[in-house]
Amino acid sequence: MQGALTQGVLFVLGLVVAATAFILVVFLANTLLSPRNPDPEKNTPFECGMEQASDAWVPPRMRFSTIAMLFVLFDAEAILLFAVASQLRGNAIALLEVGGFVLFLAFGLGYAWRKGALEWRS
């Protein structure tokens, strides 16, 4: 048991060290070898060769936030389903419980659909 633990820890430790080492080498090579010609023009925003027509700090529209909320909601649900699905293989009662959970969320989706939250225009 003792050997397996250290062997496992060593493996994870090796993985972490190798990854960080690789990233550090790349960044070091970049700072050491890349030429530096700082130029104010270089930092101007890229707008297809033109000056920036208007600054981009504009309050976003409401519909972006509703879509974002709906996505988070149903994405979290999907993850929960994946987690549950592996445990309840072949168990009828669990199927009912998870079915209820899904039904409840389906009701939420139906409500959002009817209220037009999924329409992009309004």
């Binding site: 050491l32 070898l33 530096r36 023009e41 060769g49």
Partner: protein, 190 residues
């Protein structure tokens, strides 16, 4: 003075010339193999640039990956006539490209103004009037093979660069078969 300049100068002045050449060789080799072009396609040469990137001529085998965004690219390929109205846009895109960057002038219009040299009031006669051009490719439009040969020649040019500012390594830049005496290679510009 950025770290890279101090490092370059130190390696160059000190006795560690060997380390410098090997570091340069590594850096130049990696840059030369992956010259991502910014396709500044304005006119007919853009069609040849696109034709070169597709399956028949397959530009990607030379390590090029065309990106329309100056931030991700190393080489600006000027494909097509540059007019006075377009000139500030091209200059701004060139400035927005990160170093190290190079410019390939593709087609006669970007070299001396080409067929639009006479009698025009709105064509920039040659890209080197406002951009430091590294490789000139003649042709109207040049064949895709000529464009790819231009990128290969640029790869040779890249292999002469060094991290210490202003230093160039000797490389025989002339095409194979050129008379031996003529290869000056640039020498080590002290």
């Amino acid at each position: 003075m950025a770290i890279v300049d101090k490092l370059g100068a130190a390696l160059d002045n000190g006795a560690a010339g060997a380390i410098l050449t090997s570091v340069d060789a590594l850096a130049d080799w990696s840059r030369g193999q992956s010259l991502w072009p910014m396709p500044m396609g304005t006119a007919c040469c853009a069609m040849e640039l696109i034709a070169a990137s597709f399956s028949k001529f397959d530009f990607d085998r030379l390590g090029t990956f065309p990106r329309p965004d100056p931030r991700h690219t190393d080489v600006m390929v000027l494909a097509g006539t540059i007019t006075e109205k377009m000139k500030p846009a091209v200059k701004r895109l060139y400035d927005q490209m990160p170093d190290p960057k190079w410019v390939v002038a593709m087609g006669n219009c970007t070299v001396p103004g080409g067929i639009f040299y006479y009698d025009t009031y709105s064509v920039v006669r040659g890209a080197d009037s406002f951009l430091p051009v590294d490789v000139y490719i003649s042709g109207c439009p040049p064949r895709p093979e000529a464009l790819q040969d231009g990128i290969l020649q640029l790869r040779e040019l890249v292999r002469t660069e060094s991290i210490s500012r202003g230093k160039r390594h000797a490389r025989n830049l002339l095409l194979p078969g050129a008379p031996a005496g003529a290869s000056d290679g640039g020498g080590d510009a002290e």
